[in-house]
Symmetry: C2
Subunit: 155 residues, 2 copies
DNA sequence: TATTGTTATACTCTATAACTATA
DNA sequence: TATAGTTATAGAGTATAACAATA
């Protein structure tokens, strides 16, 4: 399920769908929100040359978690081999660094550089604007509620 | 973001992540629910030889919407060329039929056969069980609330 | 001239297995 | 013997363009 349809986003088309059984299934609805949300976020991030997955890695590199690549793969449900490429790209743009882990020399801790932090602040604002767009149909209270419920399922 | 990590699902790993900024971003959370939900649903549907996208097409073929392939592509945010293959597989298993659209001979209406309807009932029960698993962390009221909010965003 | 279903093709994403260096 | 990062490769999923039939 993704964002590739041709003439979609016709509101009457979506209204017809809303009447179906499918439209009451939580997994189906989550897939839709996810694909719309990541399409919106990717569109916004494209101006910065990022995709959501780069953004997610950068966000964690800016956090105080000091994650290893292995941990990034666990946090993001991505294969360790995919983290390699994402870190490569971010490192090539000097947004993050690979640092030896003093506790285990096999591991590499991924930390943001100073410019990586500045860039993240910018990206975060961009994503936040995209989120506004995605969740425009909800009142502020409902957004908070949605975030709370999603977090409860996710963790 | 998908379901490919190696030793993930360690609850302490997820607790650490819950403390990050990322864990408050609705799009990130939706991606997680979507990937977990579709992984659960796909696992359940595998016993029936279906994936969620086949299931979605079958569900709409069983509805009273009587969708054309073009409409299916709009409903599911899939490219028309992808609908072809999904309908081919379902038709090969005699679960759905392509019927000429009397109103436009270019179009083909996709309708479920009798055995398609029986099969859908079974698949629906299976998916429902998988949903229970995915949403186990939520109380019934919270589940209803989540579905309501997701539907409000999706339509 | 535009649209529906279809085919073909290229591209991205995902999954898997191996290799190296460390543990 | 097992694990972290890496590489390579195959497979699935996605995007794009073209074509025949019909509008």
């Amino acid at each position: 399920m993704s964002d590739s349809a041709t003439t979609a986003n016709d509101s009457s088309v979506q209204e017809r769908l809303a009447a179906s059984d499918l439209a009451r299934e939580p997994v189906f609805l989550a897939i839709r929100l996810s694909s719309r949300g990541s399409a919106d976020a990717n569109r916004a991030l494209a101006a910065l040359g990022l995709k959501v997955r780069h953004y997610a890695v950068l966000a964690l590199a800016c956090s105080d978690l000091r994650p290893t690549q292995r941990e990034l793969s666990q946090f993001l449900y991505l294969d360790p081999s995919q983290i390699v490429g994402l870190v490569d790209e971010l490192e090539g743009r000097q947004l993050v660094q690979r640092r030896p882990d003093p506790r285990d020399r096999r591991s590499k801790v991924i930390v943001a550089t100073a410019s990586g932090r500045r860039f993240y602040a910018e990206a975060r604002a961009t994503v936040s604007t995209a989120n506004e767009e995605t969740l425009a149909a909800l009142a502020p209270d409902d957004r908070d509620q949605l975030i709370r419920l999603l977090a409860a399922v996710a963790f």
